[in-house]
């Protein structure tokens, strides 16, 4: 530890910390452009200058290590004057186009020029101009505004793991770009917009849309993958205009995946904004009463066994518990949430959760990936793996279709045969796992959504048990989900009850009335011709196309709802605006319908539903936290690892940019799929 005095305040900081960190600890704000706490230190903008006693020159505090007894001044005349000098130089080539710049109002350069800028320019030469770059459909560039802080280069290289940005040429001619023009092939590219301190990199879809002070900001949770990224929804009037990440060290740090950030134009399109009823083969707009009456009529005389419900990937816990209660009331055991036949087992929570936790990834020392491409299934979680990789030697083996994960992995097989080899100890990675202190395995949905899924699950657990992944202070068995609804559904037991039918059995005429709660990933063509389909959801996607009755629900931006992420962390979204037209929050629809058929669900407000949720599983009462798990009971899931087939694992997501009704509707995501599609497909093959 070193004792440092900052403006008369004495602080103790670890040796090796920078002067800037010491200043922050002392509560002094240091202006900066190039420094970013999650990136390597570049020390090139010079905005962070401070005065250090006995040092004749000002010092760049972000790149200067502390020393014991150091006396720092952050607001002396020398500091102020040198920062003014730096600012003047930065502004020499920076255009004065704030009025037409999308960063205006939230620009570091703009803010700091208020503090250190001059009221006029002494520079009378021509300013330099730089050609804009085409980084793809998401990130817009106005490179003349670039102050060459190199944050974007470091982000691409270090966090995103796609070293494609660089600074070419030098001096006056230096430019930031890819040199060979190409779209930035990252699922995290939107973060460049946040990280660029000026308006050089801004959001293409959001260009010229709004000013930050016009927006209402709502803290919420993303649901387009199962990471549970904390987001802020910026809305104006009845429109979501942008989505930004919120800091949560345990989940997403400060990153947000591109699908979560840019799918929002899908929220305005193909929305179900009123009830529909199929009459003579055609959907006609009806009132809520008529829609409910039609369902009630069809229900008449049906036994519980002939009724079923499937919960989709975006369903919230409140609506799922209401639907489950409704079905139970009707005597139906036919419930399922595993839309693509994932052989998930819910007898124990750690069979289906990411038990190591996302932050826990940083502690592992050997990683095995089975049937998963975390780069597509959970880009932000993948960034955490990459962070661990960068921290130093992490052996990684992967089983499945080889892909570029942004870090090196040894592909040890494309199917379950590799699992057998690991168990038999005939593959070299077995000894790596044995030697590791905190090894972990990540099982993707692609590993279990197949005929021998239960066997794969069992084999993965056996590997976990065999190689010391399960211990008194470490749980290295992890299920990586890609649907935000899934863990919550499993917690609620949204699964076939005794003699209940699963998804496959409900299709093909297995039930006479099928209630789809946002279930669009099932094979809707396989639904029996005589099955009466109720689709409750927010988008006119596959489910609605097959429906006999459509009940318009709310998207995640329009309701306060609970989702449990892949770690098993319950988090709540907040409504940023109202559902469109006659659409309603989903649990309310179910509650209202229960009234119509005389089986009123026993909750009248959100608190009561949440109380009911808490009764169903305690996880719903302790939101935002997740305990670090240990494993003492080694008993594995019911499957038999002897039943492994030889079929290779196939990628679970065919197209990262289009996985759910919202992203499938989004023109921006369609554009991304066009731009990146072929390349990603090749990488996955």
């Amino acid at each position: 530890m070193a004792k440092v005095t900052v403006d008369g305040v004495e602080v103790e900081v670890p040796n090796g910390a920078s002067v800037l960190q010491a200043c922050e600890l002392a509560g002094r704000e240091i202006p900066r452009f190039c420094y970013h706490e999650r990136l390597s230190v570049a020390g090139n903008c010079r905005m962070c200058l401070v005065e250090i006693e006995k040092n004749p020159k000002p010092v760049a505090s972000c790149a200067f290590p502390v020393a014991d007894g150091m006396v720092v001044k952050t607001d002396s005349p020398m500091v102020r004057q040198s920062r003014r000098g730096v600012m003047e130089f930065l502004l020499i080539n920076h255009p004065l186009d704030c009025p037409i710049c999308d960063q205006g109002g939230e620009c570091d350069l703009q803010d700091q020029s208020m503090a250190y800028g001059m009221d006029h320019s002494r520079y009378h030469e021509n300013k330099r101009a730089v050609k804009d770059k085409d980084l793809g459909p998401l990130v817009k560039t106005v490179m003349t505004r670039c102050i060459q802080c190199t944050r974007c280069i470091r982000f691409a290289q270090e966090i995103a793991g796609v070293p494609e940005l660089g600074a070419t040429a030098r001096g006056e001619n230096m430019e930031i770009g890819t040199y060979v023009e190409k779209a930035l092939s990252s699922e995290l590219s939107g973060n460049l917009i946040d990280i660029c301190p000026v308006g050089a990199l801004t959001s293409k879809p959001y260009a010229f849309v709004a000013r930050p002070w016009e927006l209402t900001k709502t803290d919420s949770i993303d649901v387009l993958d199962a990471v549970g990224t904390n987001i802020r929804i910026d809305a104006r009037g009845s429109e979501v205009l942008r989505i930004l990440p919120r800091l949560n060290e345990d989940v997403n740090e400060e990153w947000l995946a591109d699908k979560a950030r840019f799918s929002l134009d899908g929220l305005k399109r193909r929305r179900l904004d009123r009830p529909w009823l199929r009459r003579d083969g055609k959907l006609v707009a009806v009132s809520w009463q008529e829609a409910f009456a039609a369902i009630a009529q069809r229900l008449q005389g049906l036994s519980g066994a002939r009724i079923g419900a499937i919960a989709g990937d975006l369903a919230d816990a409140e609506s799922m518990v209401a639907l489950k209660d409704l079905m139970t009331g009707l005597g139906s055991p036919n419930l399922d949430c595993r839309q693509r036949g994932e052989k998930l087992e819910a007898t124990r929570r750690d069979f289906y959760c990411f038990n190591t936790t996302i932050a826990g990834i940083e502690e592992t020392d050997a990683l095995l990936l089975v049937g998963t491409n975390p780069r597509h299934e959970a880009p932000v979680l993948n960034a955490r793996i990459r962070k661990r990789v960068l921290a130093g030697s992490l052996p990684i083996a992967a089983i499945g279709a080889a892909a570029d994960l942004t870090y090196g992995a040894e592909w040890i097989g494309d199917g379950p045969a590799a699992l057998r080899a690991l168990l038999a100890g005939t593959h070299g990675f077995s000894s790596v796992l044995s030697a590791a202190k905190r090894p972990m395995v990540i099982l993707g949905q692609g590993a279990v959504a197949r005929a021998d899924g239960a066997a794969v699950l069992a084999a993965a657990w056996e590997i976990a048990a065999r190689f010391g992944m399960l211990g008194a202070d470490w749980h290295g068995f992890n299920m990586l989900h890609s649907a935000a609804a899934r863990v919550g559904a499993l917690d609620l037991g949204f699964l076939p009850g005794p003699q209940g039918k699963d998804v496959a059995a409900m299709l093909g005429g297995g039930v006479d009335l099928l209630w789809l709660l946002g279930a669009d990933e099932i094979d809707t063509d396989a639904i029996g011709a005589g099955t009466f389909v109720v689709y409750q959801g927010h988008h006119g996607d596959a489910g609605a196309a097959r429906a006999d009755v459509i009940l318009p629900g709310a998207a995640y931006t329009e309701k306060s709802a609970t989702y449990v992420n892949t770690e098993g962390r319950a988090q709540r979204t907040a409504a940023a605006l109202h559902p469109p037209g006659e659409a309603r929050e989903d649990w309310k629809i179910l509650r209202a319908f229960s009234d119509v058929i005389g089986r009123r669900l026993p909750y009248d407000d959100l608190d009561a539903v949440r109380q009911r949720l808490g009764e169903a599983h305690p996880v719903f009462t302790r939101t935002d936290t997740v305990p670090r798990l240990a494993c003492t009971d080694m008993t594995g899931p019911a499957g038999d690892s002897g039943g492994l087939s030889d079929a290779p694992f196939v990628p679970f997501l065919a197209d990262y940019y289009r996985t759910d009704p919202i992203s499938r509707t989004s023109p921006t995501m369609a554009e991304c799929a066009r731009t990146f599609g072929p390349a990603l497909m090749q990488a996955a093959e």
Binding site: A169, Y179, V180
Partner: protein
């Protein structure tokens, strides 16, 4: 200055590049200088080898993008890291140049000593229109460079790897005509001075006569 930012769209870029046996021999020597984990340090020598090989094989010493990609592959680094280095150093030509790359120094010392005439002679005799241009016969490209570090023999014209010093208009013309004929005059001073020694022979420490002519210090 040429636009260095989008070489990819250029039709002059060859689709492939491979080091030949001569370069390979040199590459093994270069790589041996760096520890296994630090092979990226070899990026500068490899770029230089690529440029030399192009000169040897095609008569135009430049570094095509395919060569930069090949270097990135060889060193296990991202191609952009090679592009950054290659664009930083003006000594690397990222577009084809003539067989003789005329690099005229026009910085103050050379300019005071008549670099304008060297430039004029290049235009006249080599047939290049201006800086950054190549003569119609493809023999010469003229580039304006900053101080070559040989001001003492100013003005300087660098032809490929060699310096020609103490130039004026006629001597530059003579040099270029020789080059055209396929001769390569010996590099160095064109007025016969020994390296950068004073013109007309030694001027200091020439013996007692000099000492006698100099009044003793008070």
């Amino acid at each position: 200055m040429t636009d260095q930012t989008d070489a990819g769209a250029d039709s002059v870029q060859p689709a492939h590049f491979a080091f030949d046996a001569d370069s390979e021999a040199e590459i093994s020597r270069v790589l041996a200088r760096y520890p296994a984990a630090k092979q990226a340090s070899a990026v500068l020598p490899l770029l230089y080898l690529a440029q030399r090989q192009m000169g040897r094989l095609t008569g135009s010493a430049w570094v095509p993008r395919a060569a930069m990609d090949e270097i990135a592959r060889r060193l296990g680094i991202a191609p952009i890291r090679v592009y950054e280095v290659a664009t930083f150093y003006t000594m690397f030509q990222l577009r084809p140049v003539g067989r003789f790359h005329l690099q005229v120094c026009t910085t103050t010392p050379c300019w005071l000593r008549g670099s304008d005439e060297v430039v004029a002679a290049c235009r006249r005799t080599a047939g290049v229109g201006g800086f950054g241009e190549t003569s119609a016969d493809g023999l010469f490209t003229m580039t304006e460079v900053e101080c070559l570090g040989a001001c003492v023999n100013a003005p300087i014209l660098q032809v490929n790897d060699d310096f020609y010093e103490d130039l004026d208009g006629p001597r530059t013309e003579a040099l270029l005509t020789a080059l055209k004929r396929g001769e390569v005059p010996p590099p160095g001073s064109t007025i016969g001075r020994q390296t950068s020694a004073p013109e007309g022979g030694p001027q200091t420490l020439v013996g007692p006569a000099l000492a006698a002519a100099t009044p003793p210090a008070e």
